[in-house]
Structure formats: C-alpha cells, structure tokens
C-alpha cells in the first residue's frame, strides 16, 4: 500500500503540489488524469523517490519512506519518450534490471522470454532498439518494467508518442499484463478517454491538487465538483450559469425553464449546470426532457456519430449524436436534455446533485 500524507511540493516559491493525500492499494491500476502542468509528473517523481516533498510524507506498506532515494525503493518507471539502452539488444535491454539485481542466467532467460512473449517481442529479441518501430521500443521499455518485478510501476503518458491504433492495442493489453503481479500501477494521462478505457481508479488533478479519487467510472459519472467534471470530459463538458427562483430556472440567455421535480427542493440562488455532450439529444425521448433552441456553429462527422458544435447565449456547447446529422452553420435547432443527466454545481463549484444522491 502506497500512502501519501499531506504531500506538498514547492519549487522556487511556486506550489507544484498542494496538500495531496492519496492511498493506493496493491494490485490496483490508478490513473492520474489532468491537463499538462497539473502536477502529474511531480507527483510521480515523489512517489518514485526522485524528489522529496517540501512537506508531508510518503509511506509504503506502513513504513515511512520519505526521503529514501529511488535506488533503494522497488520502483519501475516508463516514460513518454522511448528510453532504452541503444547499444544493447532487446533481450539485454529487458534483462538489464535483473542483471543489476544479480539474478542467475537461467532465471533471467526464463523471465525475459516470458515478458517478451507477453509483449509480443519474441521475434525482435536480437535486434537493437533503434531498429524497431516506436510501438516495439515502448513495449521493450514496458517489458523491462515487468521483469524488474517492482512493487510500484509508474507510467508517465507511456502511449502519448504512439500511433492511435497502437495506443488502443497497448491500452487493452496493459491492465492484463499487470493484473496478476500484485503491483501498484500508476498511469498518468491527459486524456479522459484513456482513463475510461483503462478502468481501475482515477485521481483527477488540477493545479497541483487532487480534486477527486475513486473508481474511474464513478468519478466520471458522479464528479464531486465542477473542476473534476471539466477535467474528466472529452469532448469538453457543456456548462451554463443559471439562477433558481422558486419553481423557475433563469438561464443565462434569458430563457426561463420550469424546475424539474427532483430538483425542486434546492435553495434559490445561482448555480452552474453541467451536462455531458452525449446526453444532448436531437429528439425528445421522454416527456420531461428539457427542450432548448441552440445555434449550430460547426458539425464534425466521424462516420457513425456527429459532433455538433452549438452556441446557446454566451455558452459554447457540443452535442454528440448517434448517426449522421448534417446542419448548415448558423442553423437554429431543437435540442433536448434529460434533467436526470444534469449535474448541478453551487457557487463554489461543489456538486449539489452528488450530495443529494449521497444523502438518499
């Protein structure tokens, strides 16, 4: 079990990480999700022991490991760049951590071949990394992390430099590869889609803080606050400010809506509502759906789905609709949203809908 207790990191007067407490269990896959510079890499460096936190402590299996350098911890890291020993063959690259640990040749051979088989590298064992494709180079780095048999494996955007389809394949294989090892597996990414495909747990990061940590699908479906919801949305979360007076919602664009029954008990005041692009529909499917008129700014068609970019008052929204919908720009269309899919955030950004569900 890896435990971070109130970890902060300040570099040159600027806070890179602020008061992070996080507990990661053995044999779990944990995603750190956040935009560039949100602190993912800083956090991983502290987990690895490459950096010492300014304050707070790092515990592993009940022992305080703060300040213990990386060499003395059981850690493997894989980076966005493909880092291998260029002069070694793939076989020697994979074997290197075991050679350092002083394993005997028979064990090394067995483990290397097992890892190579798992990562489909067997035909390339005699080549050097520079004669491999990017995907194969990154597989080599992953295989090295596996044979090291570390208790903590840190992957810092390992698939970012690979082709889309290769990413898709490796992403599928990765959880399987690490599933049986009992390892704590930490994976940093900027892409919400990637977090969802990996599953496991997700911690969302924003400006050096963890905004929420929980099972990936839970964090996605039930964000605690607006920042988490925005971090964990691709396409971006649709939002609009509104004011509630008794039985009416007053929307930013001057539109008034009746308050849906299940939201009636909220206090009057100003709120931000958020809803996912795939929850915007082109046709009414249930009678209590909210209907609005929005203006099309652009349409993107992927073949099976359409991303329709909309403007509503000052807000920019995206609708993700099944099938192919062709609209001309500036066309005004009807859109429908099921009120049960609305996330409502109060003035300080905390989710009111979530609190309501927790209480129920």
């Amino acid at each position: 079990m890896l435990e971070l207790r109130n970890v902060s990191k300040v570099v040159g007067g600027k806070p890179h990480l602020s008061d992070i407490s996080l507990t990661l269990e053995h044999a779990t896959l944990n995603v750190l999700l956040g935009p560039t510079l949100s602190g993912k890499t800083s956090l991983m460096r502290i987990m690895a022991g490459l950096d010492v936190p300014t304050s707070g402590s790092v515990w592993f299996d009940g022992r305080d490991r703060t300040g213990v350098p990386v060499q003395k911890r059981s850690v493997a890291m894989v980076y966005q760049q493909f880092i291998n020993y260029p002069a070694f063959t793939v076989y020697e690259n994979i074997a290197s951590p075991m050679r350092v640990a002083g394993a005997d040749n028979a064990t090394i051979d067995r483990e290397v071949r097992k890892a190579a088989e798992l990562l489909k590298l067997t035909p390339y064992l005699d080549r050097t990394p520079l004669n491999l494709s990017g995907g194969q180079q990154q597989r080599t780095a992953l295989a090295r992390a596996i044979v090291k048999n570390a208790k903590l494996v840190l992957l810092d955007e390992p698939l970012a430099n690979l082709d889309y389809k290769l990413r898709e394949e490796l992403r599928q294989e990765l959880p399987k590869i690490f599933a049986e090892s009992g390892t704590i597996f930490v994976y940093a990414t900027t892409e919400p889609h990637e977090a969802l495909l990996l599953g496991g747990n997700t911690a969302t990061l924003s400006e050096g803080r963890i905004t929420q940590f929980g099972s990936t699908i839970d964090v996605f479906r039930k964000p605690d606050d607006l920042i988490t919801a925005q971090t964990f949305a691709d396409p971006p979360l649709n939002t609009i400010a509104l004011a509630k007076f008794g039985k009416a919602f007053q929307l930013e664009g001057g539109v008034a809506l009746p308050v849906p029954a299940h939201l009636a008990e909220f206090a009057d005041g100003t709120y931000t509502i958020g809803f996912q692009p795939h929850h915007v529909n082109t046709a009414r499917s249930t009678p209590d759906e909210i209907g609005l008129k929005a203006t099309v700014t652009a349409t993107e068609i992927t073949g099976s789905e359409s991303y329709v970019h909309l403007s509503f008052a000052d807000a920019r929204w995206t609708m993700l609709a099944h099938g192919i919908h062709i609209y001309t720009p500036d066309e005004e269309i009807d859109i429908f949203i099921d009120p049960r899919n609305l996330m409502i955030f109060d003035a300080s950004g905390n989710s009111v809908t979530r609190r309501q569900k927790l209480a129920a």
Binding site: P236, G303, S304, H309
Partner: protein, 355 residues
Amino acid sequence: MARIDLNHIRHAYGPNPKSDKDYALKEVHHSWEDGGAYALLGPSGCGKTTLLNIISGLIHPSHGQLLFDGQDVTNLSTQERNIAQVFQFPVIYDTMTVYDNLAFPLRNRGVPEPEIDRKVRETLDMIDLASWANKKARGLTADQKQKISLGRGLVRSDVNAILFDEPLTVIDPHMKWVLRSQLKQLHQRFGYTMVYVTHDQTEALTFAQKVVVMYDGEIVQIGTPEELFERPRHTFVGYFIGSPGMNVMPVTLLGGMAQIGGHQVQLPSPAMPTAAGKIELGIRPEYVRLGRQGMPVKIAKIEDIGRHKIVRTRLENQEIAVIVGEGQDIPAEPHIAFDPKGINIYADSWRVGGQ
C-alpha cells in the same frame, strides 16, 4: 486556392527502385478538388508524410507530376509553390510579436505596409488572437502558437493549399476540440484547400470531407467519413477506422447466407457474388446487437467507457466486440445478432459486391 492533381506519382528513397517493395509511396493518381478538406490517415510508415512532403516540395517524386490548377509544379521549389504549412511542433519567430509573426510572410513579399496592416488585423480576428497582437510570441501557449503558424498561411492571399502535419500532437485534449472546430469553421467560411496528415482517426474524420486512408505506401480508400465507416473497401480500413475497429471473421458463403462456425447469418443482398480466395465477413461493433436472440456468446470482458460499453464476446473461437448503449442491460444468457445493413463481405481482404 487550387485543385491538386497527383499524376501517377511514385516515390522511392533509395536509388534505382526495381520492385514495388522499394517504393515508400506506390502509385498515387488522384485529383483533389479546389476548396476540399482532405485528411491523409494511416499508421506511421504508411507513406502519408512522404505524400505531404511531395505536395509541399520538400521531396521531389521519383515518378509522376504534381499539378496545381493544371499547372505543373513538380520542379518548383517550396517557395514558388505558394503553399502554407502547419507543423507538428509549433514554428514561430520567438523574437517577434504576434503581429510581426503574421506580417512576416507579407513583408518578405514586399506587400505595402497599409495592405499588410489590413490583412494582419483581419487574420488576427479570424484566429481569435486580436488582443494578443503586441505580445511577444514566445510567451504563448502551444495552441496559440499553432494558431500563429496557421495565421501566417491565412494572411497570404496567394496560397494554393494549406498543409497540416499532425498539428494537434502537442495540444491538450480540451484545446484540441476548440482548435479543431475553429479550423472547421475557417474552412466552411473561406473554402481553403486543406491537406491534413494524421494517425488519429477522430482528427481525420472530423476534419475532412474526404479521408485518404493509406497503408504500406498505398492509398487503400478515399471516401467520406460515412463511406469509410459503412463500407470499408479493405479490412485494414475496417480495422483502422472505428474504435474498436471492425470485427472480421472467416466465413463460407452459401447462397444468401454466411456460415460462421456452426452458425448462419443472413446477408443483406441475396445475390452476393461467389468470390474466390479467403472469404471474410466484416461487421462493426456498432452493428452487433447484444440480446436474448441470435447466436449464443460468452462474455470475456466489459469495458464501461462512460457514454457506452464495449463488450468483448466470444462466438466459438471468434472474438467479437459489441458496443452497448449507456443504460442498456447485459442479459445473463447473452446472444448476438448482426444487423444486415452493417455486413460487408471481403475476398482476400478486399470488399466484394454491394454498392
């Protein structure tokens, strides 16, 4: 803007190419419309960058001709071709302001200063950077820098085509959406001829009117996103486009039916030609229905990705991925059925019959 004709273009990096294998780019013979938005899509090493470099003039093709609006530009330099290009990593002139960056290509061409001012201000509005005009370009974010790169192309009135070489690589996911839709709007409003190289299907499909799918130095299909999704000409297109890609399984054809292991599937049109070679059936996960009727399957894994679930099923020895809607239940005794309109038949990996 111009129409681009690729006349029997081939390219080999080594000298004296003999067999097809020596060519990084096998024969390309196409005509791209004036004002069209084209995406070159494929895995690394498929020849898409080679093709882009041939259009930009960085590479001189071993064979064939390149025409802009009917005029042969094969032997012209990059400069003489009047193209604009946005690169993978933002290229900006660090020491200049945003305004001067945009004015640079015009000043180099000796455009009079009042004209420059008008064009630059117009372009700054187009790319939403008007309030940044007097800022130094070096302090900007990656997405703003990419917009400046684009702006240096838009500011010129003589541009034949705008080329993009994986321009969103260094952009955060949220900004990608914003940039892409801005690009789309610019294209709709001004009708530039655009060629966009990427390995990312979402980028290619959402950006382009026509997607050029390349594999192993060849163009395997040019089509609208819809065509590529519904009727992939080659199993590679089926695999490469869609997430997850198309399910492809070996079948035997019997009249209007396809035999998959011990099961039979009704084909959309009864008059499927009997094709020779290896016969396969392709169906996208979106067209496989999971329910209580059809062929019994085992479920290997369920991936809940929020807006839908990807269910990995096994039909005898065949893995079949199914996409299931957000609120939809997964039955205890799962069966799958194929929607006939989603079925394609392939002989030796190439699609046969049908429209």
